[in-house]
Amino acid sequence: MSGDSAAPEADPRPAPSEQPAPDERTHPEGRRNLEGIRIDPVVEAEHDSRRAVISALVEDEPGVLARVSGLVSRRQFNIESLTVGPTTVDGHSRITMVVEETDPGIDQIEKQMAKLKPVISVGEVSGDAVTAELVLLKVEADDPAAVHAVTEMYDGRTLDAGPRTITVQLTGGESRIDDALDAFRQFGILEIARTGQTALARGDTPTAPGEKPGTAGEPTTHDD
């Protein structure tokens, strides 16, 4: 099958097996970390992940939530919560995400979201933003007076009180909600529904970059 005809003349240059092996070459000392940043190998600095609130203004069109959630799962971003709702501009929605990522990770989330066509603008909400969450929880009604007292203490509202269960609404920032839930645990929490954190920037700062207030009926516009 082979070898019937003479093979071509040998290449005068060194064959791969004659070339210097890996350990016969020089190699640089430098290194990069997992995020591709050049590092001093002796004092390697890893980025710590942190919690960040990301707010995005999006076109209110079919599939926009699927695009955002698909992006988050596909790129393995760590996400704690995601809320969606209308804004002051007709045809725009706000998506608020709470993520737990390193700084480069947060940067990637923002940049990848910005590439989605329905995303009008996106950015991290600064640390002093106003954040709140709404929680519904159903507890056992063995001691209605005590449940009522705890509800009052955390500025909650009783939405439903039956012979066996009491349903309470709580709102507030993360630590306040956590404290309240700890307090309710003594009664036996049967069910819980949480919206996840939503947020607005404090003062005059727009929540999503470049965001401007609108009036109902205003046409949808891109800001860039």
Binding site: P16, P22, K117
Partner: protein, 604 residues
């Protein structure tokens, strides 16, 4: 099939109205006003009018129930249609058409299986940032969500693999949506888009002629990089002792090859490319180190490991290029030019991010640099590495025909403008290593997705593109593996039917060779499911298709067979029975250090 039957074909709807964008003369876009979409009477005609106005010349596709109205409208259109054997072939052909022509490729399929068969080709285009528009039929709107016959949630399925996709929601707007999708595919960083077309939308009446098409707001970014960032990058390049250019596929997509050549030559900076960047810089230039990465040249990998300033243009730092990130260009200040901000510092941190169009930013950099970096010693070092680590192979008398020899024989027998397409695997690596590429858009391959079977349909698309450009004399050579060829060789029927002059060189080692190579290196030689104990006779198969079929076993048969196949006016297949034991070297093991590339199997 439908009660809103399409119009009689004799009724050319374009007779009565304004210029149609060249119904007969093949000169789309020569209308008086902005895009000259002719009068329309259905959603489907609006779709076709939008495509004509956008300049689409050829569509690749497969007919089917839900897309029939669009095909019916194509019947009286200036757009040529190439009927492919399988929708995957249509997507790859459209992709390759786009790579060669520089215009977005266009593919069509029906709903359900038609759409899902496109998926591989769309994902391939997405990974390689190739501009392409896919149009899929869909069941009528009122059936959507009911699991109707041939219904698939195409928008859902293709959401993560398109730049954006659309569900057409009315005959009045569908033409505008298609026009926008076409423009979006080539705006900024290119990529595939898709419009899902429910049959009622395309069948319904409308007299709404599509307006001028533009990409959606905010998707066509500023081509210029920030001037201060350019200045800072220019200073870094001036100060470098060991500067190195890394030109990626973005250089070719941005038509920046000339700017890249000027930049590197003006400042005497050695050049390496990525695989998609092959052809952006001539490989026979003294400055060129060819491509870096897993099977890149030893000298490119030495240079990229030792550079102190990497000027990376239009690349996303794929893991097959970087190897382990910890050892990738570990001492380099990185200047990263890219049109997509999300690629900046995604995998490799950019010390100097330059967000913009490759051509514009290279021109900005060329203008901003005042002094050539003092890199003479570095250039000498790179030249020395070229001497030390040449791409070579041996041809012992007692071993079968070497595949590298076949690639070199074709390169020698063809002109520089020859278009090479490939499947994926060992043959692809040899085709990229042992062919000297000098021009952009001559290397057409599946990089990011690594799609076996890309080669034959890509050759169809590439041939049609070259013919459309009036370059019928250019050769189109497809290097394929036996495994890749078996996946899409049915598209040979298209090449025969359409009388497309392509030459397919099957480097047949009766293995899934790259898997076999990895099994030998990393799985103790256990050839699980990589060893084809029986292969069809590809030369006879080619003859059965109506193509020229040849078989080659020995060195002295190579040149005559290559000549015969290239001279043959029509599709030809040569079944080269090559050494089944030949391995692709050099090789950087997955996640390894580029500078530690293996030049022999025992180093893996």
């Amino acid at each position: 099939m439908s009660d809103t039957a399409a119009h009689p074909r004799e009724d050319d709807p374009k007779d009565s109205e304004e210029p149609t964008g060249g119904a007969d003369d093949g000169a789309p876009g020569d209308s008086d006003d902005a895009p000259g979409a002719g009068a329309v009477s259905t959603g489907a005609e609006s779709v076709v009018a939008a495509l004509e106005a956008a300049g689409a010349e050829t569509a690749f596709g497969v007919q089917g129930g839900a897309i029939m109205p669009v095909y019916d409208a194509l019947y009286s259109s200036s757009i040529d249609h190439v009927t492919m054997a399988h929708e995957q072939g249509a997507a790859h052909a459209a992709d390759a058409y786009g790579v060669v022509s520089g215009e977005p490729g266009l593919c069509l399929a029906t709903s359900g299986p038609g759409a899902t068969n496109l998926v591989t080709g769309i994902a391939d285009a997405d990974m390689d940032s190739d501009a392409m528009l896919a149009l899929t039929g869909q069941v009528p709107t009122e059936f959507v969500g009911n699991d109707a016959f041939q219904e698939t949630d195409t928008v859902g399925v293709t959401r993560p693999i398109t730049k954006h996709n659309y569900f057409a929601d009315g005959a009045d707007t569908v033409g505008d949506v298609v026009g926008e999708a076409f423009e979006l595919s080539r705006a900024g960083r290119p990529g595939p888009t898709l419009v899902d077309l429910p049959k009622d939308v395309t069948q319904d009446g409308t007299d709404r002629t599509p307006g001028p098409a533009a990409p959606p707001a905010g998707t066509d970014p500023d081509p210029n990089a920030d001037a201060d960032a350019v200045e800072a990058a220019a200073r870094a390049i001036e100060d470098a002792d060991r500067p190195l250019c890394l030109f990626g596929g973005g250089v070719i997509k941005a038509e920046a090859s000339d700017a890249a050549r000027t930049f590197a030559r003006t400042y005497g900076i050695p050049v390496t490319t990525t695989m998609p960047g092959i052809g952006s810089f001539p490989e026979d230039d003294d400055l060129c180190l060819s491509w870096a990465g897993m099977h890149g040249t030893g000298y490119a990998n030495m240079a990229i490991t030792h550079t102190d300033c990497l000027i990376a243009v239009g690349t996303r730092f794929d893991d097959r290029l970087t190897g382990g990130i910890d050892t990738f260009a570990p001492e380099a200040e990185v200047v990263h030019v890219d049109i997509d901000p999300a690629e900046i510092s995604k995998n490799v941190y950019a010390d100097h991010p330059l967000i913009g169009d490759a051509k514009r930013v290279l021109d900005q950099l060329t203008a901003a640099i005042r002094d050539e970096p003092a890199a003479e010693a570095w250039r000498d070092q790179c030249a020395e590495w070229k001497e030390t680590y040449p791409l070579t192979y041996t041809t012992p008398d007692d071993e079968p025909l070497k595949p590298q020899f076949v690639v070199e024989a074709f390169d020698e027998a063809t002109d520089d403008d020859t278009i090479v397409t490939t499947g994926v695997g060992q043959h692809q690596m040899w085709a990229s290593q042992f062919w000297t590429y000098t021009e952009p858009r001559t290397w057409v391959s599946s990089h990011g997705l690594g799609t076996m079977g890309y080669g034959v349909p890509a050759a169809v698309g590439a041939r049609v593109a070259a013919n459309n450009m009036g370059e019928t004399d250019r050769d189109v050579v497809c290097f394929d593996g036996d495994g890749s060829f078996l996946m899409t060789m049915q598209e040979l029927s298209v090449a025969v039917r359409e009388d497309l002059d392509v030459t397919i060189a099957v480097l047949n080692n009766e293995y899934i060779g790259m898997v076999r190579q990895w099994q030998d290196a990393f799985y103790e030689g256990r050839h699980m499911a990589s060893d084809y104990t029986w292969m069809p006779e590809f030369d006879k198969l080619a003859e059965a298709f109506g193509a020229l079929g040849l078989r080659v076993d020995d060195y002295d048969e190579v040149a005559p067979a290559v000549e015969e196949a290239l001279d043959y006016d029509g599709p030809a297949v040569i079944d080269f029975h090559v050494d089944p034991e030949e391995n692709v070297l050099p090789m950087v093991p997955s996640g390894g250090a580029n500078g530690k590339f293996a030049t022999a199997e025992d180093q893996l």
